[in-house]
Symmetry: C2
């Protein structure tokens, strides 16, 4: 799993040997004086973290409209000591924190998505009550974006160097119909596509204990029901796409799915029709289905496709098709591959050891995040939370708690994971090796 | 039914006596040389009628956005010999064709609505194939607007005078959620509210035979389903307003209504949700219900309100309400009163006699048009078509045929009705009485 060039560098390194265990690698990081100083800096810098969370949250970033937040984040990245800070052609913004190895070597990518699920016009003002911040997108994913910057500052301030380059990314297209296009571009087309060998998606709140090494596969559809339309009174009796869609929604809502492997379904957005007194000529709904099991996902998908077809056939039977029959077009609009980074792989073991070292209880789970793409490509990847507590992601009442202890615990786990994966090095080669060496 | 002042004028008039039958009044009109000349002018002027239909159709006039078409129609009214051409504060545009009676007397109002059901952005380009014009709104109601102008020109050119003033109106708010606000304003608040004693709504295509003296009552609702919302995967299991709405749509689609008295129901517009991967916190649908019978309408309304309530209660039972329960708010957004202008009233009898005189077969029907308001207020009113053939109103494929014979037949019935109601007078008082007197 570890690429050759990293193996080669490892031989030159002072901190790791081929006998290293994940635990010992993490222990070396958290015991390093600079790591302690970095955590102290993050503690001291806490208010700035909070104000950057608020700043980012209050820049709307609806799906496909991440531009403004991306531009702001690009400027924030520029204010740190990064090389090649830039926006790529899909809209991801990023910069490299150079390691001690030769330029052009393998990278650890750490990414937080810029976009939210909330449409244009949503009030994104952050309401603060004590340590609780309430606003759409505040935890999913503004905190993560701000935590990346806080870690950068702390690592710079305390002279933490790593062998491997680290790519810090604010990416687009994680939510809604974005279909992970930011991460797909990064790993499949972007300039670093062949260099990214380890991948951390920072997403959501939590103390670092919940590590997602499994990628929930998902299928998304936009089903469009079309008919002749007409006057609600004059043409009464013609097939109505809203009626067929209603029947499909009702039936879809009643399917059964297993609790484990966790399998879910959703009607997320609906629309269509021109006026109250017209039979619509078109209605549509957007549907999301997910499962930890590809087999269960396929079952749900098959049922969904049968249900919409059947609903249209039924409506064509009970009402008149003399002006034309109803049709339905179920168009795939998202297909997130699933998979799993093996539990015994170094990245998972290091993330778990880091959580333990931060005082959290590690557990492995499934998620549906930017990590789906690397996982499906066989690139070792995990999703780790950004610290603290929070809930109600994707709801208007989304909130996070920014109380310090829980915030620091999460960041400690995350930063230990990042530095252990990128391999800690002395500040100046050979000159200021930490005492404990 | 006939107001005193009209009765008084009648005594002075040359063309009507208290023994007049509707038939004889219409016969006197259609036998008048000027009426024949006016129809000849409309025949000659046919291409202008068609080009004005196209011009008006291609100015979008979505519900509540009639301003541009209203402004254009105001200019078109100004180009004719009308007094007091103006736009009222609700957006109706109008002008008076003065009769021979004293100023400020009773009025015959002839109205055609400016608005269409089609939302902003709909392609309203008219596609022409032979005598067939296809475009959203072309028959409902651009033709009627253009026919009003064609009649005006023909009456002016041939010196047709009437005892009673005629108010020509292009009105707003007939369609969608407009809730007849244009006509309501005209009859309940506008400057002519106490003067309008007879009312003709010109609406849709047809040869003048179909006369609507009945007003279909309608009720309209916007039902909004609200819930806590949440992440489609993380919060799976929470109540989903789209599921409740789907169940309500499905059940509503299955209610039974009588064919006579004609009773209808429709889900016309649906919307809601923020993203495919979020449980919506809100979805909504707009519903239209109509009946010739107030009792049947009430039955449908009661069922609708029960169905949405029950759908929400069911969803609250089968899924989790731990973050909040679903609610539904069914808000009335339209209430068109019903009623009937008696079949034996002069306005209905004159419209039927005019249809017969034009070679059409008169029949009485129910409609839901601007005429609902005067009918509900006890003001004699009918809806008459604007001539020709057409179909698919409220559909994108709406079309009319502008072949001349059918167009002229409808206009002949309409113009005869209008002139007979306003009472034909000689061109110059006493000086040029038609030969047949």
């Amino acid at each position: 799993m570890k690429p050759l060039i990293v193996a080669a560098l490892t031989l030159l390194s002072i901190g790791s040997t081929t006998q290293d265990t994940p635990d010992s690698r993490v222990q070396r990081v958290v015991a390093d004086a600079r790591f302690g100083a970095a955590m102290a800096a993050i503690d001291r810098d806490h208010d700035r973290l909070v104000s950057e969370i608020i700043k980012l949250t209050e820049i709307p970033a609806p799906p496909f409209m991440e531009e403004k937040r991306g531009a702001a984040y690009l400027e924030m990245l520029r204010a740190h000591k990064l090389a090649d800070v830039e926006r790529d052609e899909i809209g991801n913004v990023m910069g490299i924190r150079r390691g001690t190895g030769p330029a052009g070597g393998p990278l650890v990518a750490i990414v937080a998505h810029l976009d939210t699920v909330f449409p244009e016009g949503t009030d994104v003002t952050v309401k603060r009550a004590g340590t609780r911040l309430t606003a759409p997108g505040v935890g999913d994913n503004s905190r993560s974006l701000a935590v990346l910057l806080a870690m950068l500052r702390a690592m710079d301030e305390t002279g933490i160097r790593t062998a491997t380059d680290i790519l810090f990314v604010g990416d687009v297209g994680e939510e809604g119909l974005g279909d992970l296009r930011g991460t797909k571009f990064l790993l499949q087309k972007g300039k670093y596509k062949d260099r990214i060998k380890q991948f951390i998606a920072v997403d959501g709140s939590g103390d670092g204990g919940s590590i997602a090494n499994g990628a929930v596969a998902s299928k998304r559809y936009r089903a469009t029901f079309k008919g002749p339309g007409g006057h609600s009174y004059g043409a009464f009796g013609l097939v109505n796409p809203a009626f067929a869609m209603g029947a499909a929604m009702q039936k879809f809502s009643a399917i059964t799915v297993p609790a484990a492997p966790k399998t879910t379904f959703n009607v997320g957005v609906v629309g269509g029709g021109t006026s109250v007194n017209s039979i619509p000529f078109e209605t549509w709904m957007e549907v999301d289905m997910r499962s930890e099991s590809p087999l269960e996902l396929e079952k749900v998908e098959t049922q969904f496709l049968m249900i919409v077809k059947q609903a249209v056939a039924d409506e064509n039977k009970v009402r008149s098709t003399k002006e034309g029959a109803l049709t339905v077009d179920a168009k795939p609009v998202g297909d997130r591959p699933g998979g799993q980074t093996p539990a015994n792989s170094p990245i998972v073991q290091i993330a778990m050891a880091s959580a333990k070292a931060a005082g959290a209880t590690p557990s492995l789970s499934f998620g549906s995040t930017d990590a789906n793409i690397p996982i499906s490509m066989g690139i070792p990847a995990v999703r780790v939370a950004s610290g603290g507590r929070g809930d109600r992601a994707h709801a208007l009442e989304e909130w996070i708690d920014v109380e310090k202890p829980a915030s620091l615990r999460g960041i400690r786990a995350l930063m230990a994971t990042l530095i252990a994966l990128a391999e800690l090095r002395p500040t100046e080669a050979g000159s200021s090796a930490p005492a404990r060496r």
